[in-house]
Amino acid sequence: MKRYSNAILCLAVVAVAFAASPLSAQPVKAKASAIQVEMILSDEIKLPAEFQISLYENLVRQLEKQGGFEHVYRDGDRRAADAADLVVLHSTVRGFKQGSERARRVTTVAGATSITIHCEFKSPDGKVLLEKDVNGKVRFFGGNLRATYDFAKKTARVAHDNFSSSEHKS
């Protein structure tokens, strides 16, 4: 009988330890109440103009929607100079494969469009706070530009998970 109660006690201790560990492992969000989005650079890889603009516009929109920032400034916005706790997002295209919507519709397995972009979240003085490669894809439905929407959503999620307008643990 005692053996059973000891085993149950051990199990309970292990369960509590497992339940508590994710809380302590969650990263502390850096404080940033505003973000400035720089234009997407594509020096090494030739990106069609409409993709570049679509990436930029979707990124601004998604950061406004779900980034968790009080202000989202665009490239060159003079008001960003006075913003407190500003983060500047630099994005550089690292990979681009333009697929075909026709191939996607006909075969359902071929014709995927994908974009890989290196994102750097920097402080105004140029110190890198976070860097990550983010991928945007369209596999089945939608035009090629939909890959830019996918990228923007993922990047906004990264920003939301790592920055907060008030410094706290999530």
Binding site: E50, I53, S54, R74, D77, R78, R102, V106, G143
Partner: protein, 177 residues
């Protein structure tokens, strides 16, 4: 029996496709200046259909009793491009997926060309904006020409001009799009 069913469904799909492709083509060439604001135009929903005109230094997009204007002088870059889109609409395309033997995918082969017009401009605060319009095939060129004539800039012309003047200044070929 199965074969007859297949032939009937195939013939129906083919007829329907022909009709929709014809109507799509007719729509596309009907009116000059028709455009779809794909993204980025302030105060305008994505994929809004309307008409695009350039007059008295302004790019004017009017849609559903509303309108949006951009100062041509604020435009930093104008780029034209080409793309294709499905000739049949979304609803028909989705319905066709229920057609037997995957015959609905046949519709995806029919695509029509369209032009894209991509603009970059800065607002009063110096903030960079981008706008993408979709126009009927051959429609972006004249709009770009009008924009450049009224004071817009384009990186393509400037790059080409730099290339043509740089080597020994011998030829004064200035290629313009």
């Amino acid at each position: 029996m199965k074969r007859r069913k297949f032939l009937v469904s195939f013939a129906m799909t083919l007829t329907f496709t022909g009709l929709t492709v014809c109507s799509a083509n007719a729509q596309q060439t009907s009116k000059h200046g028709n455009a779809i604001a794909l993204t980025g135009l302030p105060g305008v929903k994505d994929n809004a259909k309307g008409t695009l005109t350039v007059e008295s230094g302004k790019l004017h997009f009017s849609y559903a009793k509303k309108s949006s204007d951009l100062n041509v002088a604020d435009i930093e870059d104008v780029v034209t491009g080409e793309d294709t889109q499905a000739s049949v609409g979304k609803t028909v395309s989705n319905l066709s997926m229920a057609a037997p033997y995957g015959s609905g995918r046949f519709l995806a082969l029919f695509r029509s060309k369209f032009d894209t017009l991509t603009l970059r401009y800065r607002d009063d605060n110096g903030a960079l904006h981008g706008v993408i319009f979709a126009l009927p095939a051959g429609g972006a060129g004249p709009i770009k020409k009008d924009l450049l004539a009224q004071g817009a800039h384009t990186a393509v012309v400037e790059e080409r001009a730099a290339v043509s003047t740089a080597p020994a200044n011998s030829s004064s070929k200035e290629q313009k799009q």
